[in-house]
């Protein structure tokens, strides 16, 4: 049954069906706010992709479009060459949504078992609970679990249908460090099976450690797309930091090599293509108090890519030339 559908989709859409996820010029506005602003994104089958952004950057809105919970105002969203609704109805998608609370008055086993029954080819419930690390909780009521356990139940709900694509919207938000590590262990056990995974997060180290590829989103736009290494390089070679000592940040952006300027308290942080030239220029201005020069970290890359004084388009173009 699933095979027939797939063949039909391949014939009708050609190469697009090779992609698990495909956004073309997708726009979604809520009032005056463009939560998703002209997003183009392709995710191949079997990829593990992190959608990285600050709170309110447009991650959840993008995921809502992807799952068919919202319709784009403009542009097209396709999953496996068909509409999101078709993919969802065919049981090819599983998801862990943000801002859902535990379903009251059901046990873990009942809930996961019910969801499994709605999919055409689910994995055994026991296997899903095992993968999510909650085998021993099957008989417990979902609304009487800890935060970390609840999150794992939601993970089991997302994966029990054995879907080709699994989407996790901030799966580790509000988890403590230990629970977060335990969650990613479960997660890696699942991705090794060759499923396509898209997860959103605002933790850089999670994106770095668990994804093949990082898509950075800011103000509803994709500002960078690549591996962690590519992002670091794209962010510019080095970071030069020093105390302003009351000098003010005027003119710093115009110094040689400087790509972006960020001031935190009294300390200025310049991202630069050419740290030597920048430091020389700073020395000429006499502002080298507590000077520090370091290679850019992924954190710096993220801040640089999403800081408001970096035009989104420039950053993306920049990355593509790397």
């Amino acid at each position: 049954m699933a095979d027939t559908t797939e063949t039909a989709a391949d014939i009708s859409t050609g190469g697009a069906a090779d992609q698990a996820v495909s956004f073309a010029g997708a726009v979604k506005a809520f009032g005056a706010v463009r939560a998703v602003d002209c997003v183009d994104l392709e995710i191949a089958r079997g990829e593990t992709v992190a959608l990285l952004g600050r709170n309110g950057a447009g991650k959840s809105s993008t995921i809502s479009l992807l799952l068919g919970l919202n319709e784009p105002d403009e542009g097209v969203v396709r999953l496996f060459g068909g509409t999101p609704e078709q993919a969802v109805r065919a049981g090819r998608v599983g998801a862990m949504l943000q801002d859902t609370r535990p379903v009251p008055r059901v046990t873990v086993g009942e809930l996961v078992g019910f969801v499994a029954g709605t999919y055409p080819a689910p994995m055994p419930v026991a296997e899903a609970l095992e993968l999510a690390g909650i085998a021993e909780l099957a008989g417990r009521r979902v609304d009487r679990l800890s935060g970390g356990q609840t999150q794992r139940v939601r993970f089991a709900v997302a994966l029990v249908g054995n879907p080709a694509l699994i989407v996790l919207d901030e799966p580790t938000a509000a988890l403590d460090v230990e629970a977060r590590y335990a969650f990613w262990d479960s997660m890696r056990a699942f991705t090794r099976r060759g499923h396509t995974v898209l997860f959103s997060t605002h933790y850089l180290e999670e994106a770095d450690a668990n994804a093949d590829r990082i898509v950075v989103i800011d103000h509803g736009r994709i500002v960078a797309d690549g591996t962690a290494e590519q992002l670091k390089r794209a962010a510019g070679g080095s970071l030069v930091a020093f105390d302003l000592a009351g000098a003010g940040p005027d003119g710093l952006a115009d110094l040689p090599g400087v790509v972006s300027v960020e001031v935190r308290g009294d300390r200025a942080r310049l991202r630069t293509d050419d740290s030597d030239a920048t430091v020389v220029a700073l020395a000429e201005r006499g502002v080298i108090r507590a000077l520090e020069v370091a290679p850019a970290s992924l954190d710096d890359a993220f801040l640089a890519l999403t800081s408001s004084d970096t035009p989104a388009r420039t950053a993306r173009t920049f990355l593509e030339t790397v």
Binding site: L69, R89, A90, D99, V103, V106, E110, F114, G117
Partner: protein
């Protein structure tokens, strides 16, 4: 969809609020109201039995809306939308859950009437009364759904309770209409609850429900049905 029905019925029956408010309360109130003081005559024992069964059925029917509001608030409806179940199956499953969960209240009060209060009716009358009360609860399920799709879980609870109490008292489910002033009595005959109970009492008296009862209930069915549809359309965009 049957799995969904089973899951939701289970969740409803595990809700202590539902069991107490929708099943235990009507039975207790029935037994109290008919046995306090001098006790009641046979006619009131039967009429009150039907009134309280109708009251319990209405409470349970409205509770379906409370369930929907809760599911909406906690994100369960969103989660269902990304399972392979179609939206129509979800809505149908919910409506069937409402139909099933109305039954315990009706059965419990009728059993209390027959076993405790010694109400004697022909077997076919028991069956037809139960069936009519079951069918007659549909407008109230729709009213509950209308509230549940429109309001927050908390507001739905309050709204359902207000609807429940007002309609029960004004419709004469708790006290006989003969105690009402005449203006209230004439108002009462236009309420869905009064006509709902009348379905049962006319069968107990041995004749078919009056045309007026069927007409008034049909009117309310259409009104509450439209309300539910409008509410659903309003929220389906944001669920």
């Amino acid at each position: 969809m049957l799995d969904y029905l089973r899951l939701e019925v289970r969740r409803t029956l595990r809700d202590t609020g539902f069991v107490i408010g929708g099943v235990v309360m009507p039975v207790v109130m029935y037994l109290l109201f008919t046995n306090l003081g001098d006790g009641a005559d046979n006619e009131w024992r039967t009429a009150s039995m039907i009134g309280m069964a109708a009251y319990g059925a209405m409470g349970s029917a409205l509770n379906t809306g409370g369930g929907v509001a809760e599911d909406r608030t906690i994100g369960w409806l969103r989660q269902l939308r990304i399972t392979p179940m179609s939206p129509r199956q979800v809505v149908m499953g919910r409506a069937l859950t409402g139909a099933v969960t109305v039954l315990p209240a009706i059965v419990a009060v009728l059993v209390a009437g027959g076993l405790v209060n010694g109400v004697r009716l022909d077997a076919w009358k028991w069956a037809v009364i139960a069936l009519l009360l079951w069918l007659g609860s549909i407008p109230f399920t729709l009213l509950g759904l209308g509230n549940g799709y429109r309001l927050t879980a908390q507001a739905t609870g309050v709204m359902n309770m207000v609807c429940n109490l007002t309609l029960a008292v004004v419709g004469g489910l708790w006290f006989p209409l003969s105690l009402f002033p005449s203006w209230l009595r004439s108002l009462s005959s236009y309420t869905p609850t009064n006509r709902f109970a009348q379905l049962g009492t006319s069968v107990a008296d041995g004749h078919a429900p009056a045309l007026g009862a069927v007409l008034v209930l049909t009117g309310w069915l259409l009104a509450f049905g439209s309300y539910a549809v409008v509410s659903y359309r309003r929220t389906s965009r944001t669920v």
